[in-house]
Amino acid sequence: MNYFQSLRGAAWMATYLFFILAPLFSLMLTPHPPSRDFWTEFSAAIGYAGLAMIGLQFGLTARFRYVTEPWGEDVIYHFHRQISLVALALVIAHPVILFTLRPERLAALNLVTASWRARYASISTYALIALVALSLWRVRFRIRYETWHVTHIVLAVVAVAAGLMHMVGWSFYLSSPWKRSLWVGLTLFWLALLIYVRIVKPYFLLRRPYRVTEVRPERGDTWTLSMEPIGHPGFRLSPGQFGWLTVYGTPFKITANPFSFSSSAAASDGRVEMTIRSLGDFTSTVHSIPVGQRVYLDGPYGAFTLSGRSVDMIVLIAGGVGIAPMMSILRTLADRGDPRPVVLLYGNRDWESVTFREELDMLTSRLHLKLVYVLDNPPEDWAGESAFINAEVLRRHLPEPYAAHEYFICGPDAMMDTVETALTSMHVPMTKYHAERYDFV
């Protein structure tokens, strides 16, 4: 993340807070009802803020490039997950405070006898609890990703719509027509974001299909999917970015899969490649995709790309199929004749599963490239690095000052954590490295 991106990030953070707090403080404008005690007012405020936070969740996952770029997709999705816990805490604290002040209000929890405005509150809260619980324990409950995704969307819509009905029904702050219009309008805007992602955007993607031109086997149970645009010029790719791939079905299908592009960004004919390792889910079916298959690509996304800053060295740290975005960077640098020194530290299980091994050797003749292979199970005559990439390995192969280089890290979670900790111990600031995780969704 460079200085400009940091500035954009701060601006977006301010915008995010504005969308939560401005509608809340607008309730103070006249005409407004007389106030109650502090805790009742505080309870109302966190209820309104909680609903606004839930509504904004639709925006965080709407794949707006200019929203995700300053942070990276992994940070946005992690924020989306964690902030939902805060929103849930606020939504639950709202009635808990009211019940504590007046225990007889607990009668509102009885869905049979309660008023509709109380029922809507219960429905909204229960939907939100179910939504968060299913997200936290999807794997433990053995829920298919596609099933969870549909349920997630339905519960989110119910939580927001019922929350709004509760507010309007209670009518304490929203008795004024313009305040009611503001909150109803905001809710419709949040729901419109969902319609944009699930209907409008897929409609445009439907008109920009791709055709699979090759399914190429690579080392390490990995496949490269080559695709060309049909009847359109494709998109402009930055090396290291990723896209959402839909193979069977239309873009309206609920679940697309995110994969890094591995092809050079210097290609001018719109062709792109994704390199995918067979890991047991959709990825295990990639080898059987027929040539000529029509596919859809939503992208490119991601901030895992060359910043354009003047750096003395580019350091790529990959684990397993984390090599895919690195290949895009290396191929692009080679095609552009970039003279800057590049070091690739590349961790793999064994020598035979080193994806792109032969091409990497060839790239050393086109780039100022140093290759450092790190193997879990090296062959007996192996003279290179073994075990895993840590601070010692980095110090052995990189010149000082370490903070002068630009780093790119992509691989399994454990490797990412180890490398990020190592870079911190080497006094490399977070602004000098980019990280891409497989499992951000």
């Binding site: 809340l24 007012e41 803020a49 009518s171 900790t421």
Partner: protein, 122 residues
């Protein structure tokens, strides 16, 4: 590190939102202090008349049992609750409840009724 960074953003957001929600509540109660003080100057007899006209369908109106329909909490019991204040009554009477539609009473009428109900405090 990047997840830690995202966690810090979440914590920052939570602190700002909860903090400003508290500011919202504080501003609200301070803003209405002057207004709330006027409540005690409401017209008790007009408040009683309004209560008999609008509340007696459901509530018992008056200082003791025996008046009104008695379907829900009598007004003298509402007045006796320890957390019933001029502000809480004003807030309650300003929004629709039961058969009372929105915007039934003017601010002065709300003051009169709140003053009347408080006068029932034992």
């Amino acid at each position: 590190m990047r997840r830690l960074y995202a966690d810090r953003l979440v914590l920052f957001t939570a602190v700002i939102v909860v903090g400003l929600a508290a500011v919202f509540a504080w501003l609200r109660i301070n803003e209405d202090q002057a207004l709330a003080a006027q409540t005690t100057t409401g017209d008790v007899s007009n408040g009683q008349r309004l209560a008999e006209q609008h509340c007696a369908t459901c509530h018992r109106v008056g200082p003791a049992p025996g008046h009104g329909s008695g379907q829900v909490t009598p007004l003298f019991r509402v007045a006796a609750r320890p957390d019933t204040t001029a502000e809480s009554l004003r807030a309650f009477l300003s929004r629709p409840h039961g058969r009372i539609p929105p915007n039934t009473f003017s601010a002065e009428q709300v003051d009169d009724m709140a003053t009347y109900i408080l006068s029932l405090k034992p």
